[in-house]
Structures are given as structure tokens and as C-alpha cells.
């Protein structure tokens, strides 16, 4: 369970002060899929960064498994991210000159997974995104959709508890984007992994258990989707 409590964040000071997040409160049950919706610049990415401990808010608490992650020291928050969370970004951020194997291996190395246990994990992850045949290909030789699938493989390889995706289909056409969406929701359902997707794609949002609409840094509405 992730509890977001009274999160506020301001950029700048005095007359220039700009409130990106204004008293945000919500709770995400374990294994839920959550869409964070809103216009560009409304504060969606910032909220996601705060929830994952990448960014620090001015006030508020992020409680995951009963622990306020904002009070952890840098070492522990790094460990938390490397073992329990993972990320998918709009621009993929795969390492173009590395092959698929090495790309997927990175989170395992960061999390100090023993070398002998890496190979099978990497192959399982690449198989899940249907890229096993590209294991030795360099990432720059992949298409956009394949790159994002590679990013998904990298995100799931270390079996995270929470998967953050910031506009994962924003740079993809609807067919390839749909395939990435399927992967994410499949993984979410099969493994009971919490999925938090930032998006402005209404169709994608409709597949989620919960929708959080943000407007000018405030929560506009929270909708639980009945299925």
C-alpha cells in the first residue's frame, strides 16, 4: 500500500513562487493500477518523482509498507529504488550502444544480484516482452516499440513491487503503444505489482483500477473504476 499524504512542493521564491503540487492526498492499494492524468505541466511527473523518492517535496509523507520513504537516508532510498521500484520513461532511455542483455542486466547489477543468477532472470524478462531473439542486438538497432519493450524488460527483471511509467506510450503509434500497454497490464495482473502510469491517453487510463486527475498541482478528482 502506498499512502500519499499532504504532499506540497513549490518552485522558486517570493513573487516567483510556483506551486507544482498542492496538498495531494490519496492511497493506492497493493497490486492496483493507477493512472495519473492531467494537462501538460500540471505536475504529473513531479508527483511520480516524489512518490518514488527521486524528488523531495516541501512537506508531506509518502508511506510505502508502513515506512515514510522521505525520511530514509540516501543509501536506503537508493536501495529501496533498486530492489522495490522500477521506471519506464516516455523516451525509453535504453543504452543505445549496449546490447539488450547488458541493458536489462543494469538493474540487477545495481541491486547486487549475484552474476550467476542474472542470466535466467534476464532471459525471462526478455522473453516476457518477446525480445529473446534480440538478446545480442544493440539497442540502437531496435524500432521504437522494441526499445520501449526493452525498457519494460529492464523494469520487470528484478521483480519490483511498484512499477512507475511516465507516458510510456507517448512516443509510440497506437499499435505498438497498445502492445506495450498489454505488457504492463499483464504484468500488473499476473504478479500483483502496483502500476502507476502517468498519461494523457484516455483509453489507457480506462484500463486502470483508479484514475487521479491533476489540475494545476491539485487533485481535481479521484475515480475508482468498476470492472
Amino acid at each position: 500500500m502506498i499512502e500519499v499524504k499532504k504532499i506540497s512542493k513549490t518552485y522558486g521564491k517570493g513573487d516567483n513562487a510556483f506551486r507544482v503540487l498542492d496538498n495531494i492526498n490519496f492511497t493506492v492499494p497493493d497490486g492496483a493500477s493507477v493512472a495519473i492524468l492531467g494537462k501538460s505541466g500540471s505536475g504529473k511527473s513531479t508527483l511520480m518523482h516524489v512518490m518514488s523518492g527521486l524528488d523531495k517535496p516541501d512537506s508531506g509523507e509518502i508511506i510505502i509498507d508502513g515506512k515514510n520513504i522521505l525520511q530514509l537516508n540516501q543509501k536506503d532510498i537508493d536501495k529501496f529504488r533498486s530492489t522495490k521500484m522500477s521506471f519506464i520513461f516516455q523516451s525509453f532511455f535504453v543504452q543505445a550502444k549496449e546490447n539488450c542483455y547488458d541493458n536489462v542486466s543494469l538493474p540487477l547489477e545495481i541491486a547486487d544480484v549475484a552474476p550467476s543468477r542474472r542470466k535466467s532472470k534476464i532471459e525471462t524478462a526478455l522473453k516476457a516482452v518477446d525480445l529473446l531473439d534480440k538478446i545480442k542486438s544493440r539497442a540502437k538497432d531496435l524500432s521504437g516499440g522494441q526499445k520501449q519493450r526493452l525498457a519494460v524488460a529492464r523494469a520487470i527483471v528484478n521483480s519490483p513491487q511498484v512499477l512507475f511509467a511516465d507516458e510510456p506510450t507517448g512516443n509510440l503509434d497506437s499499435v505498438t503503444g497498445g502492445k506495450v500497454e498489454d505488457l504492463l497490464f499483464d504484468y500488473n495482473k499476473k504478479n500483483n505489482v502496483t502500476l502507476i502510469v502517468v498519461t494523457h491517453d484516455a483509453e489507457l487510463a480506462d484500463r486502470c483500477d483508479m484514475q487521479i486527475h491533476i489540475k494545476d498541482g491539485k487533485i481535481d478528482s479521484i475515480r475508482e473504476m468498476k470492472k
Binding site: 527521486l54 540516501q74 537508493d78 529501496f80 533498486s82 521506471f87 543494469l106 547486487d112
Partner: protein, 425 residues
Amino acid sequence: MKLRDVTIRAGRSLKQAKARTLLTSLAIGVGAFTITLSLAAGVGGRAYTDEIVNANTNVKELSVTKSPPKSQQGPQKYTGNASGVSGGLFSGELLDQADIDKILKLDGVVSVSPNYNPQVKYVTRSDQDKYVATISTFSPSVTLKFAAGSVNGDLASNEIILTEEYVKALGFSSSQDAIGKTVNIVADKLSSPVTAPENNTFVYTVKGVSSKSGLAFRAQSSLLISNSSAKTLYDYINLGTRSYGNYIVASVETTSASQAQKVKDTLTGMGYLAQTAADVLGVINTFINVLQGVLLGFGALAVLTSVFGIINTQYISVLERTQQIGLMKALGMRRRDVGRLFKLEAAWIGLLGGSIGTGLAVILGTIANPIISKALDIGNISLIVFTPMNIAVVIVGLVIVSVSSGILPARKAAKLNPIEALRTE
């Protein structure tokens, strides 16, 4: 993240920027090359002088002169026994029999023999031209290379060692041909009146012919006779002159090398100037060390330049890989490990540059060694000697220098804010 994984990733990043890595490494390579060669030349040079000095001097021996007069401005006080022997060549005081007796009485002194350098007129043999010659004293402790003949122990009083050049000049068909034949040395009696000059012919049997050797620097052009023959010649030439019974240098033989050092101290206290084999070696080695120092300086300068090269390259690398760094930090990579990644990249650059530089130095040195030895005519002695220790020190040293150069860019990478790095326009 484990050091092993960081190291592999660092190596992989460098492989992905081959040209840049190689160029940066080459800058260090130049320094490694220069430093390795200068170290090798120092080792080789010192070993060579060591051999020369050991071959040409006896560690138990000292050469003794009187201390030169303190240099002073203007006319010097007349002391009564200043020399006038060799004109302007030598103007110090000379050693006489009293000095020699005094030295002989010292503890640990076995013998004192003045060095006779008889100034003869010429050397010749029947039906041949006359040639000017320098006569020196043969010393059993000095290594000679013989083209023909040989000497066991000391020379007998009527024996001589020629050089290969004189063999040809005096009309022998070969060095071997000269052995056992006689040559004549003619000397003037200096005290004879100008109007009735007196001279004498001394006959010697050729016992050996010395050839040029990389180790023999004393006997390369002198004809050698025994100490007693030299004394006979010297006495004939100088009897009745003021030089008679006065000597510039005397060789003092002691019981051991350490005794030689003690005797030297005593002699210095007594107002003599004494030099041991170690002193001679020290003087030459100082020269080599200075030369080596200059070369090392150039190497250090090259390394300093490459330090800026590494800093620059690594800064550019950090800027280029902002997103990669951001991603790694977002995935939970610790600041320490991000810093390590860039420091290890610098280490790889240093290792590569150091290996290229020392490798080239070893190849070039190995090729150049016989050429240098031939040009200097020193036989098969190597002047450039690589020791594994020196090569290891150079490479390890450069890796350390490279890592230090990588510290600032690595810190920049470690401090990078992942959110800034991952922001997309």
C-alpha cells in the same frame, strides 16, 4: 553495485568511444614512453659505468695526489716545491719519496707505487717508421681484451703490450705475428745538454696485443709496460732534473675495499687528495643521474599535459552521458558507484596509455640497444635495461595519476540530479 560490475561497465563505455579513448591514452602513452626509456637508460647507464669502473679499477686501491693549492686571486706565494714538470698541464704540488714513505706507514696500506708516465720520444722497430707513443703502467687488476697473446699476472720487465693500431703501423702482418717479436722505444735524457743530447733505446718483447673493448677506457691507446720497466724509463729520462723522485699520482693498495675508504679519510686529513673506485663511480653516476633527471622531467611534463586531457575527456563524457547517469541513479545506483564508474574509466585510460607507452618503449629499446652498442663500440653491453619493477611502477603510477585526474569529472557525475537528467523536452 559490485566493483567488478562497475569495472566491466567502465571498460565497455570506453570501448564504445574507441577513437576518443585511444587518443586520450596516447597522450599518457607519450609520458609512459619517455619515463620508461629514461628509467631504462639510467639502469643501463649505471650498470655500464659500474662494469667499466670495476674493470678498470681495483676496489682496494686508491689514487693519491697532493691537494691542489687553494685557488686565490692574484699572484700566488712561492712554496718551494711547486711543480713545473708538465708545463701548464699540471701545476699542483708533487708527491715525493717522503710522502710515499708516510703513506706506506698507514694502517691497512699494502703498497704504494707512484704512477710513472715516462714521456718517450718514439716507438719503432728495425726497417720501420717511427711513431709517437704514450706509455702507461700495466695493472693486473685492469681488464684488457686481447686480440692476440695474453698476460698471466704481471708483465715481466722487458715485456710490452701493443694496441692493434700500432701492430699495423709497425709493419706486423697480424696481431698474432707481433707476439714474441721486439719493438724499440727511444727516450731522451732530459738533463743532457742541448748541444750534446743523449738518448737510449729500450728493447721490449711483445707479450700481447690489446683490442678495443667497451669496458677498457684507460688502455685503448697507450702501450703498456710493467711498473718496474716504467720506473727504469722514467728514471733514465728524468735523472738529474727537478722532476726526478717527484710524482703526480701514486696508487695505494690497501687490504680491503672498506680499508680503502678508511685510508682515504686518513689521507684527506693529512692534506692529500685520495680517490677510491667508489668515488670514480660516484662522479660518473651523478652525471648519469642528472641526465636521467632531465629525461624524467620531460616525461613528467607529458604526463601533466595528459592529466588535462583526461579531465577534459571525462568532463565531455559526463555531459554526453547525462541521461545514462540519470537513469542509473533513478534505478538506485549509489553516488559512490557513479563516481567510481568514471574514476575507473580514467583508470582504464591510464592502464591503456601506460601499457602502450611502456610497450613501445620496450620494443624501441630492444631494437635500439644493439645499434647503440655498435655505434659506441662497447661490445654487447646494453645501455637500455628494462626491469619489470620499473615498468610496473610506471604503469601503476600512471593509473593512479589517471584516477586522480578523473576525480573532478567523477564528482560531477555523482552529484548529477537524476530528475534534471531525465527531463525530456
